[in-house]
Symmetry: C2
Subunit: 450 residues, 2 copies
């Protein structure tokens, strides 16, 4: 009998684990993946762009369908919800979502890849028609259906100014709606320091968005048809025809918690660096916490990049190999229309207890004498005693954002600002200045250390 | 009396040294910079784009004029050619280019930043009107004057397929000329392996360029007015109205050699990592050889990025500080129209003596389901026994090229392909795929090591 690997969750982490294990062990392993929804291996991050009309169909967001996984020898069971982990019996209870039939699946190894769920604050009217989360393909379908059928569709309110909020603001602009963005923090993108976030507010306002920072939605108005007609912020009513929620996500660990598995301060499972939770039990993806290599702390950083790597690590380790996930530096990027927004490592605000300082420099995306050079701002945070880079944030025009990877690599290898200044980065006038903006920032940091 | 620093050469390396020394030491140092031409601190790399019409005027290419340097307290003497180093007397001989007057300048510290000179093979007709080097602002002026006044201007031949050759091919296309490119190596861009260079040939041919690889110019036809009318390659005559030369450069070390300073295999001075050649004698920029951190060999890598850093190192060290230039990994980038071309580290062809292997992968510049994703090719060369990254080459659409910096940083910190696969790079659909193309290449390398 082959060993049996059971995976709960059919997206990045789960299917990476399943695929890697099957590819390595072939007939020596039986792989079963259960997924509550109907989709596998799809790009959550692409959903705002699909709603905006930039993606052909939802099929384009799917990297690998259930049938494709099946052809690779994985027993994918969509529409199947895991309802209980029975760890002491080596099995899970599942329910067929359509029929309600219940059954059990035994395992030798179990992978928890249950993902994250959107935060849904207990606000009146939250369940009204037209108030949308933006996490699954079904969510995207519902928004597209509403945009296509409910006329007139004029005003959108985005609740939340994080990645999804910023991306949905762009999406709703692209769909021709007037957009109001409500952000509880003092600026959108609280994964950036507020001084950098203010550049996003400015850009949004330049595109006609009504940005309401440091404000919370307190409820939703619902019309006679059951549709949302406004968002309340304190005494004010923001009239609207559609609401997109982007208030963040939290690890979906209810199955794990019910089974007595410990979770961390952020609510995520904490596997070791081989992604092992206990003997025969593994976890990966948005349901876990990860080791932040810069701050040496646990963080919840729900990103597909990590989920895929963690899945591969499990796939190797459950098939007799040896792999580790080395942690993260929390690199992330997004875009608001023509503004690129990127971050890596620690915010200045996160450096309490360290003797940290920051510098902020202005540069251009490439040689300023070429006509299409755009402004860009780099904020670099560093440890004053050692000079070690602690974090960076970039906001700027086309070509600015992906420079964050240079800083992510500097963090990865624990470079100092002095070392960063001397690294050998690419230069030609259509791409950069002779001192790349990240090195201009490093020079400013060196000057600030004197 | 303040110490006196004399700098020979008024571009990146020399003026960086001068500026940094003056800023650090103020009135405690006298800084004299002699420059044969009339310009200081200008962007050589911008000249093709200026000729193409993308830059306003030549002034835009000048980062700092002689007068601006003078206002910072540097005694800049343009139109002044150093004619002899009299090291044992602590002075140099100079000649005023305009008047021919000769004199001497004494120094406490001397910086050799004499740059590189274009290779000019002894071919018949090389000095004809219309055969242009593309190195100085004067060269650019001459080409622009020819393009403006000599009509009809229909056909250009580019001799040499390196950075300048590829950039001038784009420039001449942009000026509406029919372009033929003559490349002695089997493909353009011999700083890439030939398999990657072939992608450039293909793109050039797609833009209507007549690419003649593995061929050398053997002479130039000159018409009755003294203007070039054709380029001979063997028995064939390529008729043309203008020729741009980009056959490479070599260190301009004639002054140094005449003074008995040793040069290396590539003809460059070999200072130590503090940029010191001898007591009180320093060298930086295109006239020196640099330490290749990957191959642990001396190389001639004439780039403004290095020149500026080396100049800063000298400026620190001549004023009582302590700085070192840590060497290079030979990162470089350019563009041919819409094709981005980048490289770092060792070519596969340079790895003799190592147990190296390469993988080549195809990817897209960002999520393939977005409409403007372009193809990109990554070639990754690695040490088979250790997995250490040895080099990388990228050719692809917009957004492809600057990814080379991730690989440059991996080389800098001597990462293995296994480590590179696990680094935390930025992802969002408009910027990348969930596995960045450089990590797709790393995964292919890992698979190839098994």
């Amino acid at each position: 009998m082959p060993r049996r690997l059971v995976v709960i969750g059919g997206d990045a982490a789960g299917m990476s684990a399943a695929s890697r294990a099957k590819r390595r062990a072939g007939d020596d392993i039986e792989v079963i993946a259960v997924e509550r929804g109907l989709w596998t291996s799809y790009s959550q991050c692409g959903i705002p762009y699909w709603i905006a009309g930039e993606v052909g169909t939802e099929d384009d967001l799917v990297a690998r369908t259930p049938d494709e996984h099946r052809r690779n020898g994985i027993d994918v069971r969509v529409g199947t919800e895991a309802t209980e982990l029975q760890l002491d019996r080596g099995r899970i209870a599942v329910r067929d979502v359509a029929s309600g039939d219940e059954s059990h699946i035994e395992y030798d190894d179990l992978v928890l890849a249950t993902g994250a769920r959107p935060v849904r604050p207990p606000l009146p009217g939250l369940d009204a028609e037209g108030v949308f989360g933006i996490q699954t393909i079904d969510h995207g379908r519902r928004v597209l259906a509403a945009l296509a059928t409910r006329r007139p569709m004029r005003r959108a309110v985005i609740v939340g100014g994080g990645f999804i909020g910023v991306e949905m603001a762009e999406t709703m602009l692209a769909r021709g709606l007037h957009v109001t963005l409500v952000s509880q923090p003092p600026q959108p993108m609280s994964t950036l320091d507020a001084d950098m976030g203010s550049l996003i507010t400015k850009s949004m306002e330049g595109h006609g968005i009504d940005v309401r920072n440091a404000t919370s939605a307190t409820g939703f108005e619902v019309d006679q048809t059951g549709c949302v007609s406004g968002v309340r912020i304190g005494d004010e009513l923001l009239e609207c025809d559609v609401v997109a929620l982007g208030i963040g996500v939290q690890p979906d660990t209810s199955l794990a918690v019910d089974a007595g598995i410990e979770v961390g301060d952020h609510g995520g499972i904490r596997p070791d660096d081989s992604m092992r939770v206990a003997d025969g039990l593994w976890a990966a993806g948005d349901c876990i916490e990860v080791h932040d290599r810069v701050l040496n702390r646990w963080k919840h950083t729900p990103l597909g990049t990590h989920a895929n790597k963690q899945g591969v690590v499990i796939g190797v380790n459950v098939t007799g190999g040896s792999a580790t996930f080395p942690g993260v530096v929390r690199t992330a990027i997004t875009r608001f229309v023509d503004l690129e927004i990127a971050r890596t490592g620690a915010l200045e605000d996160e450096c309490e207890g360290l003797d940290a300082a920051s510098v902020t420099i202005e540069a251009t995306t490439h040689a300023g004498y070429l006509p299409d050079a755009d402004p860009m701002t780099v904020k670099l945070t560093f440890d004053k005693p050692s000079g070690r880079v602690l974090g960076a944030q970039i906001v700027g025009g086309r070509g600015a954002g992906m420079r964050i990877n240079v800083l992510a690599m500097a963090l990865w290898s624990r470079l100092t600002v002095e070392e960063l200044m001397m690294t050998d980065l690419a230069y030609a006038p259509p791409f950069s200045s002779v001192w790349d903006p990240v090195q201009v920032a490093a020079r400013a940091a060196i000057a600030a250390r004197r």
